[in-house]
């Protein structure tokens, strides 16, 4: 059997044209997918039962016991943290937000460690963006700044930009120019019409220089800015202004380098300035397939896209204070629930140590690096393959993830609902 138009539950491109061949409830093959997505669809090996540490050893326990223990940990905590969320669907995230509100928790997502600065920048100056189809149909200039689509979003260029069929683009190869900006010559640089190599940490300065040039104030710009010759900047500024539709995509190269959100802010302000001359848009290359969805859900429910502290009964938001890394570095949380992410694999050492020192529970289908930090792990259905629900693409377009495999594993949403119910029972029974 073949199921068509399946959205890929891996990266923020959320390609929804995947064909999956099935036999007897097993995936045999995947078409249209890139290697990253393929690996996700075909991954094997998962945790079969909930597990709990007892006397220092992992033992298999029932779902009921694992949920009971989780509820007890969260109810006892004075500063519980609910973290992760980007790898699950909106329907589960909603339950998570209600849970956080009910127990006065901190809630934060993987946004905190990737595009957190993009959001801070947007909150200062807004976001001139568009859906990806606008770029596909219209853009004659595409700029990849501090990101490597070929590695991290393999189908971005073929589906949405450089190589995509576009209504106003007769010949995608000759009619679209590509500029790549990075601190080193990446794969993407090879296909670029213009490659700008910036000294590490110099993005902000280059963006300021371009803004001044777009305003016609080349005179104030020194001969070289962060390793880039003034002539090249002038050439690029002119390319930008001549474009009919320019689209900037940026990634962790500018959000995670020195200056973080100020870099993004400057890029946005450059784009806003360019809109006085022509059409320009800017978009973040979001990572997890539903990282944007959590931002949306938390925003309509609590008013902020990530990093919310419910401890005082209202929603308080202040990245730098209520963000996961800062909280763990200050050793604030006294219990932690991790879901749909794997902080153990890439968080800084001191923060991982704190997670291991407090009762930490993980809801995840697989044993991963975070398992080592946990007291309890509850296995669930794999979202987007065994569980359906809503995800938001990197440009905000909502897409329904499909369930293509039957499973006996409960979904993230079901587990979270059971935890909420159990916490209420415990509260009622004192």
């Amino acid at each position: 059997m073949e199921i068509r138009d399946v959205p890929c539950p891996f990266c923020g491109c959320l390609c929804d044209d995947i064909s999956v061949r099935l036999d007897d409830n097993r995936i045999l093959g995947v078409e249209n997918c890139c290697t990253l997505g393929n690996a996700k669809f075909l991954s094997k090996g998962r945790l079969q039962h909930p597990i709990m540490r007892k006397n220092g050893k992992w033992v298999e326990v029932s779902y009921e016991e694992a949920i009971d223990e989780t509820a007890r940990i969260l109810s006892d905590a004075v500063r519980p943290l609910l973290y992760g969320w980007s790898g699950t669907v909106g329907e589960a995230q909603v339950v998570g937000v209600h849970l956080g509100e009910e127990i006065g928790a901190l809630i934060d997502s993987t946004t905190s460690v990737c595009h957190n600065p993009s959001i801070l920048a947007i909150q200062e100056v807004g976001h001139p963006g568009c859906t990806l189809g606008q770029v596909k149909n219209r853009a004659d200039l595409v700029i990849y700044w501090g990101c490597n689509p070929i590695e991290a979003h393999p189908r971005h260029m073929s589906r949405y930009t450089t190589y995509a069929d576009g209504y106003f683009i007769d010949n995608t190869v000759t009619d679209r120019k590509v500029i790549v900006v990075d601190i080193r010559r990446s794969e993407g640089a090879k296909v670029a019409d213009e490659f700008i190599q910036i000294k590490p940490g110099g993005d902000y300065l280059v963006l300021s220089a371009l803004r001044a040039m777009v305003r016609g104030r080349d005179d104030v710009v020194p001969d070289s800015v962060a390793g880039v010759k003034k002539e090249q900047l002038q050439r690029v500024a002119s390319l930008m202004q001549k474009a009919k539709f320019g689209a900037v995509f940026f990634g962790l190269g500018i959000t995670m380098s020195r200056g973080k959100y100020k870099n993004v802010r400057n890029a946005i302000e450059l784009v806003s300035e360019l809109n006085r001359k022509t059409k320009f848009t800017i978009s973040a290359m979001r990572g997890h397939f539903n990282v944007y969805g959590f931002n949306e859900v938390l925003t309509w429910m609590a008013g902020y896209p990530f990093a919310v502290d419910f401890s005082r009964g209202i929603a308080f938001y202040n990245p730098g204070e209520t963000t996961v890394i800062d909280l763990l570095e200050r050793k604030e949380p006294d219990a932690c629930l991790v879901i749909a992410s794997d902080p153990g694999a890439h968080f800084p050492k001191s923060t991982i140590e704190h997670m291991a020192a407090i009762p930490t529970v993980q809801i995840d289908p697989c044993v991963n690096a975070t398992t080592a930090l946990c007291q309890v792990q509850i296995p669930v259905a794999i979202t987007g393959i065994e569980a359906a629900g809503t995800a938001y693409r990197m440009d905000g377009v909502p897409i329904r993830m499909k369930k293509i495999i039957e499973t006996n594993f409960p979904t993230d949403q079901e587990i979270l609902e059971r935890i909420v119910t159990r916490i209420r029972e415990m509260k009622r029974d004192g």
């Binding site: 909150q123 807004g126 001139p128 596909k136 848009t281 309509w300 809503t390």
Partner: protein
């Protein structure tokens, strides 16, 4: 079934022809009935003003653009935070509250039905997700067609039937309610950073003018027998001198529906400007109102501006960019492929600002000058002119010349030379207010048949009871009491249950989403139309099979099936 008996309700129900009668209202389940049994819970209304639940026929509360307004504005979020209390969840936000914030605050004002003013079809799922978390009001979505390539191509080919078929497919797919046109042609032009400045100017990409789009959409709308008319945000919003464009647009509208208007023009305040620039900017509410008076086929809403901070958000991308250049504050823009655009900027309407003062006056003038209240409904285009929590103040301004004069004395002194407001003595009465906040909406939206907007047996039991005794208040002098009375109902009843009591939501609630499904013959079913399918395959970035809003998003819903002339 649960029963409620409202005793001693002082009822104004314009649709049923009741203008201030003391009566009892019996409710059984979700509906108003002839009489209740002995078991009914009795609520003594003590002669308080009792109206059908409020209906906002044009507001922005749910969806991609609204949520982005929240997302980009932590300063607005912190300005309106409330704690968890009883069944009430936490809320954040002043001008763009969270979904629960919208729902609780609207409910406190007695509103039971909201029409989301602008839903981009591609992002419809998002709107429906937020509807689910706006539990105390029924939801309807005006669906954006201003830059819909499928529809524009059909109109360009002169094939109105095909345009209607595409509209039908899209509304059904995205679970929309009505056709919304925002700056028709302008949003397509904005795809390359341009705009359209006249209804007779050719738009890019298609061999059409805005006038062609408007006329074509009106005809298609009536071929589909949709409950509501075309809902139009005219071209040239916010530009000095745009009133001629507005009147020119009204001239295009035939009178082809005997139950309701043929065109609903929204936030007309923003479209009633005179002058050739900001220097000689002035009110042209008089010619616009006169035009409405002579055009029974047109209904407008005010789009009243009130002073203070708010956030503007519309599908009108180019207009928002112009605002950004004026204010130089934050600016967000979000164009939607093959469909429409959108923009968001925060604004602060200030009394010291002459233009803002004139805008404030124009909205009121429209409501006072249009003779028939059924043709001019009360809105702020929430939150564009002001957050909806300002409605009680607007009601008071319309009911009191004294209040208007007092306010007028505090605004920019030059306003007097630019607006007719000081000369207008009209004071609206309770009945007229009831028309402008619920009955008029129900008729204009075409939802009276669904039991909306009136209080007779058979109607949906959506009721607002205000702590106002009309015979004890002189609204022209005691406007403070009018404001207080409309700010917080004694009871708001939604679908037969008390949902809000003295300002607090008291149950979780569950709303209904209304959507339309025109019955289209197989030959016009776009699902199997090769050209339509090709448009999707080549130019959309979402597969056609993944585009429709799935059943899962509809929770409680009501499908309005229409017979069509296709």
């Amino acid at each position: 079934m649960a029963e409620i008996l409202l005793k001693n309700a002082y009822v104004i129900d314009p649709i049923s022809g009741i203008n201030g009668e003391l009566m009892d209202i019996a409710i059984s389940g979700s509906r108003i009935v002839e009489e209740a049994s002995q078991k009914a819970e009795v609520i003594d209304c003590q002669g308080y003003l009792t109206l059908p639940g409020g209906i906002d026929s044009h507001t922005h509360t749910s969806g991609t653009k609204v949520n982005f307004g929240r997302y980009m504005s932590p300063e607005d979020m912190r300005a309106g935070r409330t704690a968890r209390r009883g069944p009430m969840h936490i809320t954040s936000g002043y001008s763009v509250p969270t979904t629960y914030g919208n729902s609780y605050r609207y409910s406190a004002l007695g509103y039971t039905t909201l029409i989301e003013g602008a839903m981009a079809p591609l992002e419809a799922r998002h709107t429906h997700e937020e509807f689910k978390f706006t539990p105390l009001q029924d939801s309807f979505a005006n669906t954006l067609f201003d830059g819909n390539w499928g529809m524009l191509r059909a109109l360009e080919e002169g094939d109105i039937t095909r345009a209607a078929a595409i509209i039908a497919w899209t509304l059904t797919a995205v679970k929309g309610f009505a056709i919304k046109l925002t700056n028709p042609g302008g949003t397509e032009a904005w795809g390359f950073g341009k705009n359209i400045s006249c209804i007779n100017e050719k738009i890019p990409t298609f061999d059409l003018t805005p006038a062609d789009i408007i006329k074509g959409a009106i005809r298609a709308n009536e071929m589909l027998h949709l409950p509501h008319s075309v809902h139009l945000h005219c071209n040239n919003l916010g530009t000095p001198g745009n009133y001629t464009c507005t009147i020119g647009t009204f001239d295009l509208v035939p009178d082809i529906n005997d139950k309701r208007q043929s065109l609903y023009a929204t936030h007309v305040q923003f479209h009633s400007y005179g002058g050739s620039g900001w220097g000689d900017f002035c009110s042209k509410s008089e010619p616009v109102a006169r035009k409405v008076d002579f055009s029974p086929q047109i209904v407008i809403d005010m789009g009243q501006v009130m002073f203070g901070r708010t956030t503007t958000m519309t599908a009108d991308g180019p207009m928002e960019f112009n605002l950004y250049r004026l204010h130089h504050d934050k600016w967000s823009n979000h164009d939607v492929e093959l469909e429409t655009g959108s923009g968001i900027i925060p604004v602060n309407y200030r009394k010291k600002n002459l233009v803002n003062s004139i805008m404030w006056a124009i909205g009121l003038e429209l409501a006072l000058l249009v003779k028939n209240p059924w043709q001019c409904l009360l809105t702020t285009d929430n939150p564009n002119g002001a957050p909806f929590v300002k409605y009680p103040e607007i009601i008071a301004l319309l009911m009191s010349k004294q209040y208007r004069d007092a306010e007028f004395a505090t605004i920019h002194p030059d306003t007097e030379k630019r607006v007719p407001l000081p000369a207008l003595d009209r004071e609206l009465n309770w009945h007229e207010i009831a028309v402008m906040t619920r009955a008029g909406q129900a008729r204009a939206l075409g939802i009276i048949d669904l039991g909306k907007g009136y209080l007779m047996p058979g109607a949906e039991a959506d009721i607002a009871i205000y702590p106002i005794k009309t015979d004890e208040i002189d609204p022209s002098a005691e406007y403070e009491k009018v404001i207080a009375g409309f700010s917080r109902t004694e009871y708001t009843i939604k679908r037969g249950r008390v949902v809000s009591r003295r300002g607090d939501a008291i149950i979780d609630g569950e709303n209904t989403t209304y959507w339309v499904k025109p019955k289209v013959p197989a030959v016009y079913d776009m699902q199997h139309d090769p050209a339509f399918i090709e448009l999707f395959e080549r130019y959309y970035t979402v597969r056609m099979s993944n585009y429709p809003v799935q059943e899962e998003y509809l929770h409680r819903n009501y499908c309005i099936e229409t017979e069509t002339d296709l």
